[in-house]
Amino acid sequence: MSQSTMAIGRRERVSEHARTFVSRHASMMPTFAALLIFVLLLIGAQIHFGEFVTPRTLSALLLDNAYLVILAVGMTMVIVTGGIDLSVGSVMAFTGISCAALLDAGYPAVLVVPGIVVAGGLIGLLVGVLVQYFDVQPFIASLAGLFLGRGLAFVVSLKSIRVEDDAVLWLQTTRYRFGDWYITPTGILALVVALLGAFVMQYTRFGRTIYAVGGNEQSARLMGLAVARTKVLVYVISGLCGGLAGLVLTAYSGAGYPRNGIGTELDVIAAVVIGGTLLTGGTGYILGSVIGVLVYGTIKTVISYMGAEQSWTRIIVGLMLLSFIVVQRVIVVRAERRR
């Protein structure tokens, strides 16, 4: 008798804890869902192909999607403020082709690499200033960034340019091995950017201001937070990430190509949303977005394993995006009903 009441008491306490956890971390639930989907995807692929979850495929997953991870970090910050950055794909193309062209012209990598990253940041700065100081909607301002980046990429070169620079190629060809696992400097770069981003979002005032702006910009301003600086800075960061992604993609493909990254902004937005960030702003996690990218990458890998058309990737990502937003919508509606 007393034992069973104790058991009940413990169970109640556990469920009480669970409820507190859920109420405190309700915003993390979509990210957990993304993680679950990622795991299920891996398990499903493992069962179907017999050999999928191997150190080799998983290592390749990070390698193939390093540039997306970097872009997703900047995009998450922008989206959490309630904005959007359509320019990332073409900024990546512009910085990538510039990198290849400048190296080809004989400039040393130590100058070229910081140069192109800063160039990406400058386009981000332009977008941020338009958004913050001229009240331009993020969609339109970053559209200007998209046009600018894409056009400049073609101004630099209409054709693809091969990269012969050892330093840049080193980023891709070096493999640090741990048994069958390996990681490239580009992969390390992506992970460092992601961890740094997650730290900034969670443990700095700048990061918390990003959330505050996304929650209620007017409030954030009246609370005396540095709203203007924060909003400009997230676009600059997104631009810097675009520059970095340009470097990584150029290293990855061994060449710069002005048509790179057409539509990549959509892949990134999709990955970020799948990772649990709400496009309305205020909620989202960098690590969630990384999971979103991995889900995206896994789908791509699975499709190439199946030997199916790559066009299926976007169809499936589209459908997955759909199911995610429908589920998010249901959660929001239910939360509204409860109030």
């Binding site: 969609f139 056009g151 959509l266 496009l279 995006l321």
Partner: protein, 349 residues
């Protein structure tokens, strides 16, 4: 005079006229129109003809934006409708038959209509944010188009199809008639009925409109159906122009140009008040600019740089901040922020 200047179409019209004047001075041939075999030719005629796909897409986009929405999927819908049309023509025994082409066009436009309704369903019924709702189809649509064409660029030889984009009627390009018909249809629907004002009401305040008994769902759904259908027609014109279905290139970036045209025409992206005439002028500005860029010998691939500056210029002109700065520099008194309308509070001041 000042009343004219304050009209919201003043700037768009002035920009278009200025653009045409600059072109006319730089190359007098720009304004020349020649008659060959009873058909009109010339740079201006080309602009009118080539603008047809963008015109259709932008008109649909205007209606969607008025409801506070946005349709990112128009390019993908164009790709799908082009793929459907060409696959039907390609698969038929007689690609040159007018009947075959008509069937192909009707089917492809119906498919586009269904895709538009799908977007409308997501936005109006499931109440998903328009940007994401249409992003789904934007991502998946091209994939579907590729599947329809088996990943190839389907090409056909079919004179009736070629007529849609390149033919002439009464001496004018046939595509121009499609544009004009679309403009007339939208203008009649929106302004001769109450649809326009109800659309604006829904765009400005959806909840208030619902409580007033406006059929918001129907209106929003309808807007996406119109946008999808028009994009479908645009897809047919595009494929007719190149006589091929190119799932990747069809309507590439057109959603962005269409949004730009709407904004150029003075319609705010935040929904509500919209201007059809403004959008028409916006489309013509973009098309004239394209023509100008080509004339300058710039590769069309590089033209986005120009559009980047156009976008920046336009948003700067529309920005209140620029006026404030300008006024201060011309010796005006120090400014005040206008009494801001905060959420849910009366402007009591």
């Amino acid at each position: 005079m000042t009343r004219w200047m304050r009209h919201r179409l003043f700037l768009p019209v002035v920009s278009l006229v200025a653009l045409i004047l600059v072109n006319a001075i730089a190359r007098p041939r720009f304004v020349q129109i020649t008659v060959r075999d009873g058909e009109l030719y010339g740079a201006l005629i080309d602009i009118l003809r080539n603008s047809a796909p963008l015109m259709l897409v932008a008109l649909g986009m205007t209606v969607v934006i008025a409801t506070r929405g946005i349709d990112l999927s128009v390019g993908a819908v164009m790709a799908v409708s082009g793929a459907v049309a060409l696959t039907i023509i390609d698969g038929s025994s007689d690609p040159g038959n007018v009947g075959t082409v008509l069937v192909a066009i009707v089917v492809s436009v119906l498919v586009a209509l269904v895709l538009g309704a799908w977007n409308g369903f997501l936005v109006a019924v499931l109440e998903i944010q328009p940007i994401i709702a249409t992003l789904v189809l934007m991502l998946a649509g091209r994939g579907v188009a590729l599947l329809i064409t088996d990943g190839f660029i389907t090409t056909v030889t079919s004179p009736p199809l070629k007529y849609v984009a390149s033919g002439h009627l009464l001496g004018l390009p046939f595509a121009l008639f499609i544009s004009v018909a679309a403009i007339a249809l939208i203008a009649l629907m929106e302004r001769r009925t109450a649809l326009g004002v109800l659309t604006e009401a829904v765009g400005i305040n959806p909840e208030a409109s619902r409580l007033t008994g406006v059929r918001s769902r129907g209106i929003i759904l309808g807007a996406y159906v119109v946008s999808g259908t028009f994009a479908g027609v645009a897809g047919v014109i595009y494929s007719s122009n190149i006589m091929a279905a190119d799932a990747n290139a069809a309507g590439e970036l057109i959603e962005l140009y269409a949004i730009l045209a709407v904004v150029l025409g003075g319609t705010s992206l935040t929904g509500g008040k919209f201007s059809i005439a403004g959008t028409v002028i916006g489309v013509l500005i973009i098309q004239t600019l394209q023509s100008t860029i080509l004339f300058l010998g710039v590769s069309s691939a590089e033209s986005p740089v120009f559009f980047a500056f156009v976008v920046i210029l336009v948003v700067l002109i529309q920005s209140p901040r620029v006026y404030q700065v300008a006024r201060r520099m011309t010796g005006g008194r120090r400014h005040h922020p206008a009494p801001e309308v905060t959420t849910g509070v009366e402007v009591t001041s």
